[in-house]
């Protein structure tokens, strides 16, 4: 148990071991570790970014959907309004047409009736006169009976 040259040998080996570790071991392994750390950090950052991007996209989609819904509502509203307007217009036009045709028809009928009545009257009067002439061709006071006939015609 005495100090001897072993100490010097150990010291030399000590420096050699440190030198080899410093040169060939430590930087290599630590480099790999740091590189991996960097990679992982990058990966996580990319993940975060992607997540944020996704969130932004989702928000955008949401607003787009809401806008689209609004627009659709507006369009529907407008369409309804147009449809109602068209319907109303058509209805009123139809009513007016009906009115017009009905008055025209009525006028026609009136006309026809009047004409028929006129013809009938004339025919009846001639008929009556003819009949009367035949019935009472012998004794006829044309003047007396003319008055009677006129009354008759007026009655018809």
């Amino acid at each position: 148990m005495s100090i001897n040259a072993t100490l010097i040998i150990q010291m030399v080996v000590f420096f050699a071991v440190i030198w080899i570790t410093m040169k060939y071991i430590w930087p290599v392994i630590l480099g790999a570790m740091q590189e991996r750390e960097q990679k992982i950090a990058d990966g996580l950052a990319a993940g975060d970014r992607a997540e944020k991007e996704l969130e932004r996209a989702k928000a955008k989609v949401d607003t787009l959907i809401i806008e689209a819904k609004e627009q659709a509502g507006q369009i529907k509203e407008q369409a309804n309004q147009v449809a109602n307007k068209v319907k109303d217009q058509a209805k009123s036009e139809a009513l007016a047409e009906k009115e017009r045709q009905m008055t025209a028809a009525e006028a026609e009928i009136e006309q026809q009736v009047n004409r028929a009545r006129e013809q009938l009257r004339q025919q009846v009067s001639t008929l009556a006169v003819a009949g009367a002439e035949k019935l009472i061709s012998k004794e006829i006071d044309a003047q007396k009976h003319a008055q009677l006939l006129d009354e008759l015609i007026a009655e018809i």
Partner: protein
């Protein structure tokens, strides 16, 4: 355990295990002698450490690491964290130094956990009469390392502290007691010098003797446990008393070995941390005082 050495007393057995196998380099010189066993094992362990870590370094990838790489990275990460926590300067040397010390000292200490007579017995088969297999129970080894650390400390103390060389010498005279004015400075120079000398001398001694003491004591306890059955013949192990002693010996050795796993790791860690602390002191500049 020591059934092969049925001749010889317990005292012989103990002293036998505490003596290094020495080889004289220069005839009759006690200094130019080497402890062949310590040198052999310390270099063997250094080579094992370097080869293992180098093989991992060669295959190191930044992708998915293998289990071995993972294991090595765990150790590296641990050491790196300890060093960055303690060491405030910037140096390419300190962290590799810490790693080397941690692993190498741990491996030296680990030799303590091998069955105490296994390697010496294998040695006798190839004609080596006796050897000590735990390098860290050899004062030369622990002092060799602590002097190595101190040389680095001196080197950086002289080169880092400004002005070069003089900065460190000035620190010797003006710290820890600082004074304003030239009279106070002169008066305090003596005590400062004294304290700094003591501190500087204490560093390598406490660094190495702490490790040496722990490992030496630990090994001594293993030896004492082994001594329980030192003179047993084969038949003795199977006598009623012999069985009891053998079982007790096994339990004691087992418990102490488990406990010793903690100690060897702790001592390797302490040696590493103290070295880093000393290196940090060497890199500190006291300009803020």
């Amino acid at each position: 355990m020591a059934s092969g050495e049925s001749s010889g007393s317990a005292g012989d057995y103990i002293s036998h295990h505490l003596v290094n196998n020495t080889q004289e380099l220069v005839e009759g010189s006690s200094f130019w002698t080497i402890n062949a066993d310590s040198v052999f094992y310390t270099i063997l362990l250094a080579v094992i450490y370097l080869l293992f870590f180098r093989s991992v370094a060669k295959k190191a990838t930044a992708g998915v690491p293998s289990k071995t790489q993972n294991f090595v990275e765990m150790i590296l990460g641990f050491v790196d964290k300890q060093v960055t926590d303690v060491f405030t300067g910037s140096s390419k040397l300190v962290a590799p130094m810490a790693l080397s010390i941690f692993i190498w000292v741990w491996l030296m200490n680990f030799m303590d956990l091998l069955p105490i007579d296994l390697l010496p017995w294998l040695g006798t088969l190839i004609g080596i009469e006796y050897m000590k297999i735990v390098p860290s129970t050899d004062l030369n080894i622990v002092f060799g390392m602590s002097f190595g650390v101190m040389l680095l400390v001196f080197y950086y103390s002289f080169t880092v502290k400004k002005p070069v060389v003089l900065g460190y010498l000035k620190e010797f005279l003006t710290h820890p007691f600082a004074a304003e004015g030239w009279l106070g400075k002169i008066l305090l120079a003596g005590p400062n010098l004294f304290l700094n000398l003591v501190e500087t001398l204490a560093k390598p001694v406490s660094l190495s003797l702490r490790l040496f003491g722990n490992m030496y004591a630990g090994e001594l306890i293993f030896i004492l446990i082994a001594v329980l059955t030192v003179n047993y013949t084969f038949a003795d192990f199977f006598s009623p008393g012999g069985i009891m002693v053998s079982v007790m010996q096994f339990i004691l050795a087992f418990v102490w070995a488990v406990f010793h796993i903690l100690i060897i790791t702790l001592q390797a860690y302490i040696f590493m941390m103290l070295s880093v602390v000393y290196m940090n002191m060497a890199h500190e500049t006291h300009e803020d005082h």
